[in-house]
């Protein structure tokens, strides 16, 4: 029913229950409550204001752009937008948390319940519930390797706006969790509210994992903190669910605790420093007033939303008659979908949508992947690719020649037509020329001609190959077949 991948323990089946808390850096120039810059990779403490460093008497003032980004994200997650929300202080001591509290939203978040549809390989869509989305400050960074007894603190990241997006415990396998994260990243990138860069920490996930016998109440969960790639999320869920199953099957019980995933060792382990019983003493931040806006603010933002992946996929299926799978692949990244649409009906372009999907997915993606390039870095523009496909469509070149042409386009950035012209790759559609070539081959191979006449299909293919070879692959294969049949009377 849910597509749950059950774990086969030696005492029976176990179901894994997963909830994800995604921490997504808001795309903004300046921080949530200060005017310091947010760019990644600057010199230590160079993007820190006195507010971020929590100097005495410093006060927060909210960046309204970050609020708009959070609301847009909420709309993209089909979620309820709360017109009244409150910033709370979450109190705990940590050297990368200069204020001694994080400004967050606890009881009244800006975004409430929503839903994300994830795409499973089975093709069956699954709905994953969103519990809430709230805005909060990120913490700074602690570096531990510089010194044996000291840590180094860089506050550049402190105060950068984060959206914490909390799912309901609706996922039942590592695959679903991976699909959820992929979809979440896709939506965020479409909206331009988070760049989704997990390597730079722009998007991180806390993974809540528990196991239970199918159909029974939820088990005790463990939270695996700060997992920074989809692959690691998958691995962490796998090892953590097995760890829990083994404990339970040995008659033990699960401690609710926070754990870390160690990708090198392929294991999760309990964090050594347990924050004092997690008593964060939340209370409304008295330096700020409640965040309030009216419905028209939300409506305006809704009106300005881009077409999101699900809608785009549906349109690709209906408008271009693509398969669900192809459409799904094309819409994962907004840039890819845009590229594809430019190939199909961009200005100065235009070609068969299905042919275009094949070319983009198989040839272009394949080559880009091998070269480690993004679609934006593609040496072949959408218009150029469209030009190539058009040459195939109108029989100017064959599909096989087209692949060679594409390879040269990728190397040189030259238009397909220019390559075809320069190299004389234009398909031979002159039946006289093809007849001459066929005659030659038949005369050179009387033995095979006899076999052909006797109906040997293998030899038929061999003849086509010989003719193509004689014409450097340029002969129109359809014509070659027709003429061979005529000449040999097969």
């Amino acid at each position: 029913m849910t597509g749950a991948a059950l774990i086969k323990g030696h005492t029976g089946d176990w179901e894994v229950v997963i909830g994800l808390e995604v921490h997504a850096h808001v795309v903004s120039e300046s921080k949530l409550f200060s005017a310091a810059a947010t760019t990644f990779g600057a010199a230590p403490n160079s993007q820190v204001s006195l507010v971020d460093a929590a100097m005495p008497g410093m006060l927060p003032v909210i960046n309204m752009h970050c609020v708009r980004q959070a609301v847009r994200t909420g709309l993209g997650l089909n979620a309820k937008i709360n017109l009244h929300s409150v910033f709370d202080r979450k109190n705990y001591f940590y050297p990368d948390l200069p204020q001694g509290y994080q400004i967050s939203q606890f009881k009244q978040p800006v975004v409430g319940e929503g839903v994300v549809v994830i795409d499973m390989p089975s093709g069956e869509p699954r709905e994953i519930g969103i519990e809430r989305l709230h805005l909060e400050q990120d913490a700074g960074k602690s570096l531990h390797d510089q010194h044996s007894t000291k840590s180094y603190i860089d506050l550049n990241r402190a105060g950068v706006a984060l959206m914490e997006i909390v799912s309901k415990p609706d996922m039942r396998s590592a695959d679903e969790a991976a699909a959820y994260l992929t979809k979440m990243r896709s939506i965020l990138r479409y909206l331009g509210t988070c760049d989704g860069n997990m390597q730079e920490g722009s998007m991180r996930a806390d993974v809540n994992v528990s196991v239970r016998r199918p159909g029974t109440a939820l088990g005790t969960r463990c939270e695996i903190k700060n997992v920074n790639s989809i692959r690691f999320v998958r691995q962490a869920i796998e090892v953590e669910s097995w760890r829990q199953v083994e404990i339970l099957e040995d008659g033990g019980s699960i401690d609710q605790e926070t754990r870390l995933f160690d990708p090198d060792k392929g294991e999760t382990r309990a964090m050594r420093s347990k924050e004092e019983s997690h008593d964060y003493r939340y209370f409304p931040d008295p330096d700020l007033l409640p965040l309030e806006f009216d419905q028209s603010f939300v409506d305006d933002l809704r009106a300005g939303l881009p077409e999101l992946p699900d809608a785009k996929k549906a349109r690709f299926v209906s408008e271009y008659a693509l398969s669900e799978y192809d459409a799904g692949v094309l819409v994962v990244e907004r840039e890819t979908a845009a590229y594809y649409e430019a190939v199909v009906d961009g200005e100065g372009a235009g070609c068969d949508p299905k042919l275009a999907a094949n070319w983009v997915i198989s040839e272009l993606f394949g080559r880009l992947n091998r070269e480690g390039k993004t679609i934006a870095e593609s040496p072949v523009s959408a218009t150029q690719l469209s030009g190539l496909i058009k040459l195939v469509e109108d029989d100017t070149i064959s599909g096989r020649i087209a692949k060679d042409v594409f390879a040269q386009m990728f190397e040189t950035g030259t238009d397909a037509a220019a390559i075809v012209a320069a190299k004389g790759l234009k398909q031979i559609t002159d039946s006289g020329a093809i007849e001459a070539a066929v005659e030659k081959v038949i005369q050179a191979s009387p033995e095979q001609a006899v076999q052909f006449r006797e109906g040997n299909q293998k030899v038929a293919g061999w003849f086509v190959g010989q003719v193509m070879k004689a014409t450097q692959g340029k002969a129109n294969p359809k014509l070659v077949n027709e003429i061979l049949k005529k000449k040999l009377g097969g």
Binding site: P56, G57, V61, R89, N91, P98, Q99, S277, P286, L289
Partner: protein, 489 residues
Amino acid sequence: MMSALTDLTIAEAGSLLTKGEISAVDLADAHIAAMEAEAELNAFITPTPERAREMAAAADASRARGEAGLLNGIPLAAKDLFCTEGILTTAGSHILQGFEPVYESTVSENLWQAGAVLLGKTNLDEFAMGSSNVTSHYGPVKNPWGRAVGRDLVPGGSSGGSAAAVAARIALGAVGTDTGGSIRQPAAFSGIVGMKPTYGRCSRWGIVAFASSLDQAGPLTRTVQDAAIMLRAMASHDPKDSTSVDRSVPDYEAALTGDVRGLRVGVPAEYRLDGMPAEIEALWQQGITWMRDAGAEIVEVSLPLTKYALPCYYIVAPAEASSNLARYDGMRFGLRVDGADLTDTYESTRAAGFGAEVKRRVMIGTYVLSAGYYDAYYLKAQKVRSRIGEDFEAAFGRCDVLLTPTAPSAAFTIGERQDDPILMYLNDVFTVPANLAGLPGISVPAGLDREGLPLGLQIIGRAFDEETMFRAAGVLETAADFTAKPPAL
């Protein structure tokens, strides 16, 4: 000449400066001399005489260029809770040892922009937590009025150093902060005027925070007019403070018309406390008579929840403080006491850096916010606070200002009321309600008790109606004609 200069009001000094009869440097020198002579009061943590001379010279120069601001050349003291660029700022706490801000608070910057001269940073209760200035790491401040009775008296608190400096004629005025009465109560104890504006009128940016929803900067002066002049210079809309209000700053001095005919003066019945000294009650009655005689209409009003204001305050303020003071952790500035590990360093630093009263309030605040107690204490207190605000609103439906005593007693001896924190907290019983409701309040010196110590009366106004409050206070001041001064050294 020197004593004459230090006896001036800000208005008088301003007029003499304008006429060119005195210079800012003269004024600064006279006050620097007074500051040095009165060192035994311990009113200052960090005197800044050199800075004062430089600023005074600059003030004279700008006046010569015809660019004199509202407070050009006026020597002032600043409570050591205002961050001042390049000048040690301690909040009266060991934990800010050596802390020199790289920034200037908005309020103090406004004062310097208006041409004022900084004499020094004044002593205060640690993190402004106290009503007697005895919790300062830098020792207690002596009230100059102690000389009248031959005992060491508290100046009140927490702006005790600021009050003592103004009362002892060391500064023409001072800036303080008032979270539960920390300007008005020491003003009453010291025979001067102390004024807390409406919450949001002055920026809190750059003021070491005690309780964010209650803190407000204000002036301590010798006259109501001076308070009006100073407030005009201090107040501003500050984009850096989310709770600073975007309203133009009126000319408060112009509001001092001396005319209160028809003004409805509310007298809240519940401010008549059991066991309140007869002298306080008598002074209050006297104040009522003065206002009536000046043509005001006296209205009996009810503020039924008055007795709950203090306990409400002692949940809200410590809760906010427990969080506001978390940044004093030894990591980025101030004191660090190295421990065996990180937690040990935190705990050692904060144990050594905070005094007993601060620790007590941080712990109370931590407790009332902790899991399982939040609803019973903090949430309950914020609901009671809403009701206290509603009570004031209802009262202001029937009157324009309120008249109350400022404090339930005159200044007491240093060391008294130390054993029972609640006894100390009761000093603020008449001042705390205005903080809870965010309202402006002013204490005006109105008389002497039988020992010859000053007592104050308080006018509380509607939110952002400082003008009416000043007008009433001006009339009260004229009627009281308080001319007593603390004995000079």
